[in-house]
C-alpha cells in the first residue's frame, strides 16, 4: 500500500475526500432544513420535473464526454458510490428508528424535528443525497462503453433499472394523485375526497351494483364471564371449528365436539338456529360439551343485528364463538369515464381495476355493519409515471435473476 501516501485533497480523490464531501452535503442539508424548513415535493410537479429530468440526463452525457477530467473521474468512482450508499443507509436508519409524522400539535419542535428526522424523505439532507445518487449513477451508466458481454448486461440491467426506478418514483411523486370515493349500493358517484379531505369531482364515475362480504368459519374460546378474558388468560387458547373432521377437542379443561355448523344462520324463538341465506345472518354451531356439566347447545357469534349466544360452562366460564374474520369483500361495479370508456366487473383487495392512467382499489366498507354495510369505498390512484417505474423494476428483476444464476462469476 505504498502508493497511498498522497495527501488529502490531492487528486485522484479517494475514500477520505468522498466521505468528507458527502458528510459536507448532509451538513448543508441540515443547515437548509433548520433555516428554510423541509423540501416541498410539489415544486417538482409537471412540467418542472421534466426540466430537472432533462438536466440530469444532459449532465450525465456531459460527464461521459469529460470522463478523463479528474472531477468526473471522481464523480463516477467506486469511492463516491460507496460513500453515497453509506450516507443513504444512515439516513434511512435514522428514519427507521424515528417516528415519521408531523409534529404533534401539543408538542414543541425539538432538535430532531428541526433537522427533519421526523419527515426524512422530504428533508433537505435526504433530497440532496438522493439527487447526487441520481447524478452519479447516471454518469456511471453513460460513461460505460456498451458491450455484448455478460458483465455489461448485468451491469446495465441493475444500474439503469435502479436509475429509472429512482428517477421516476422521485420526480414523479408530485404528479401522483390519490382520492377516496364512497359509493352507496345502487348509486353512482364521481365526487371524491383528496389528500386534504377536500371534495373534488373526477372525470370518472363508479356505479356500485352489489357489495358482498365472505367470512371465514369462526373459532371457539372459553371466556371468564365477568372479565371477558379468553382463557387461559396467560396464553389464550382458540379452537378453529373444522366442519370436515368434527373431532372431539379439549378446550381449557372441557371436552367439546361439533355436532352441526351453519354459516348463515338465524335464531329461532327457542335458542336454536336454522339456515337462512341473508345478509343479517350469523354463524352458529351446535356443540356438545363434556365437563362438569354435560350439554349440547347452540353457540353463535352474532352479527350487527343478532345478539351473540354463549354456552354456560359453570358460574364463571362460558363457551363463546369469536366474531368471524373477513375472507374477502367484493364490489361489483360499472365504471364510466368522460372519454366514454365503460368497464364492468368486480373490484376486491389485490384485484384493482385499471382504466387509462387510473387504478381503482377496493378501500373499505362500514366496519360496524359488516355484511350489512350499505356502502363501499374505493381508492382512485392516478400515476402517469407508473410505466417507467415498472420498466425499472422489470430491469432490476432480470438483473437479479442473472446475479443468482452467475453469482460472482458473471464477471468472467
Amino acid at each position: 500500500m505504498n502508493k497511498d501516501k498522497r495527501k488529502i485533497w490531492q487528486q485522484p480523490w479517494s475514500y477520505k475526500e468522498s466521505l468528507v464531501i458527502v458528510l459536507g452535503i448532509i451538513i448543508v442539508g441540515f443547515s437548509l432544513q433548520t433555516t428554510i424548513g423541509g423540501f416541498n415535493f410539489y415544486l417538482l410537479s409537471f412540467p418542472f420535473n421534466i426540466y430537472i429530468g432533462i438536466g440530469i440526463i444532459l449532465f450525465s452525457v456531459l460527464s461521459s464526454i469529460f470522463k478523463r477530467k479528474a472531477f468526473f473521474k471522481w464523480l463516477t468512482s467506486v469511492h463516491l458510490s460507496v460513500s453515497l450508499l453509506i450516507a443513504i443507509t444512515l439516513l434511512a436508519l435514522i428514519m427507521g428508528i424515528t417516528r415519521q409524522e408531523a409534529i404533534p400539535l401539543n408538542e414543541k419542535a425539538n432538535i430532531f424535528h428541526l433537522l427533519g428526522f421526523n419527515q426524512m424523505t422530504s428533508s433537505w439532507a435526504f433530497v440532496l443525497i438522493y439527487s447526487l445518487i441520481l447524478i452519479s449513477l447516471g454518469s456511471i451508466i453513460s460513461k460505460r462503453k456498451p458491450a455484448f458481454s455478460k458483465k455489461y448486461l448485468v451491469f446495465i440491467l441493475n444500474h439503469l433499472g435502479l436509475w429509472l426506478l429512482l428517477f421516476s418514483s422521485g420526480l414523479g411523486y408530485a404528479d401522483m394523485n390519490r382520492y377516496i370515493m364512497y359509493v352507496e349500493v345502487g348509486e353512482t358517484e364521481w365526487r371524491v375526497f383528496d389528500k386534504e379531505q377536500k371534495v373534488e369531482e373526477l372525470p370518472i364515475a363508479i356505479q356500485l351494483n352489489e357489495f358482498t362480504i365472505e367470512e371465514y368459519i369462526p373459532k371457539l374460546a372459553v371466556i371468564n364471564k365477568k372479565t371477558g378474558e379468553v382463557q387461559p388468560s396467560s396464553k389464550p387458547q382458540y379452537y378453529q371449528i373444522d366442519t370436515n373432521t368434527k373431532e372431539e377437542t379439549n378446550l381449557f379443561g372441557h371436552k367439546i365436539k361439533l355436532v352441526e355448523y351453519i354459516h348463515n344462520a338465524v335464531r329461532n324463538s327457542d335458542r336454536t338456529f336454522k339456515e337462512v341465506p341473508m345478509k343479517a345472518s350469523t354463524p352458529a354451531a351446535l356443540i356438545s360439551v363434556k365437563g362438569k356439566t354435560q350439554k349440547t347447545e347452540w353457540v353463535s357469534s352474532g352479527s350487527s343485528v343478532q345478539f351473540p349466544q354463549s354456552i354456560d360452562l359453570d358460574s364463571t366460564f362460558a363457551l363463546v364463538m369469536t366474531p368471524p374474520e373477513t375472507k374477502s369483500y367484493i364490489s361489483n361495479v360499472d365504471v364510466y369515464t368522460k372519454d366514454e370508456e365503460h368497464l364492468q366487473g368486480d373490484i376486491r383487495v389485490n384485484h384493482p381495476m385499471t382504466i387509462g392512467s387510473w387504478k381503482i382499489y377496493q378501500y373499505g366498507y362500514d366496519n360496524n355493519m359488516g355484511k350489512l354495510s350499505t356502502y363501499s369505498s374505493f381508492e382512485l390512484v392516478y400515476d402517469p409515471w407508473l410505466r417507467l417505474v415498472y420498466i425499472g423494476i422489470g430491469m432490476i428483476f432480470l438483473g437479479s435473476i442473472f446475479l443468482i444464476i452467475f453469482g460472482i462469476n458473471y464477471k468472467k
Partner: protein, 259 residues
Amino acid sequence: MTWTNFIFFAIGSIICWTLASILIYKQKYKKISNILFLLGIAILLTFIILFWQNLKRPPFRTIGETRLWYSFFITLVGYITYKIWKYPWLIIYTSIVGIVFLIINLVKPEIHSQTLMPALQSLWFIPHVTAYIISYSMLGAATIAGIILLIKIENKKQDIKLENLIDNLVYIGFGFLALGLLMGCLWAKEAWGHYWSWDPKETWAFLTSTAYLVYIHSRLHKINIKISLWILIISLILLCITWLGIDYIPSAQSSIHVY
C-alpha cells in the same frame, strides 16, 4: 398434521443434524454424515408439506412459520454450498442455526390460525416470502463464513477461496433479496395502491439492501477486507432487525407489517 405433532419431527431433524455434524470431520463416516444431514432436511420438509395441507393455506404468514422455512432453507443452502466448496464447517454451522430455529419454535410456538386476511390473498405472497427466506439463508451463511475468515486473518492466514465463497453467497443472496423486495413492490401496488410508502418495515428493508450494496461495492476496489467483513456483519444485524426486530422498535408500532 398440526403444530402439536411438530415436536416429533423437530427432534428427528435435530438428532440427524447433530449426528451429521459430529461425523462430518471423520473421513470414514463422511458418507453417513451426508445422508443423515439430508435425512434431517427431508424430515423437516415432510412436516412442512403435511402442515401446509392441514392449514389449507400456505404456511408463510406468522414469524413461527417463516422460522420453519428458514431452518429448511439454511440447511439446504448449507448442503449445496458444502458440495460445491467442500468446507465441512458449513454442515456444522448451518446445522446449529437450523437447530436453533427449530428449538425457538418448540419453546415459543405462536398461534397459527387458518385465516388469511384479504390483503395477503395474493399470487405474490408465496414467491415474495420464499425469495426473502432463501436470501436470508444465503446471507446468514455468508456472514458465518465471514466470521471464520476474520478469525483466520487475525491468525495471519489468507484464504482466497473463502473470500470468493463469501462474495458468491452475497451476490446470490442479494439477488434473492432484490427479487423479494421488488415482488413486495408489485404486490403493494396491487393491494394498497402504491409500490412504496416508507412504512417502517419498508424503510428497514431498504436500508438492509443499501447496506449490502455497500459491501458489494466496497469489494470492487479491494479495500482492506477486514472492513468489508465488518460491513457484512453489520448488514446481517440490520437484516435481522428488519425481519424479527421491527415489532420491538417503538417508532414502528404503526407499521402494517407488524405481526
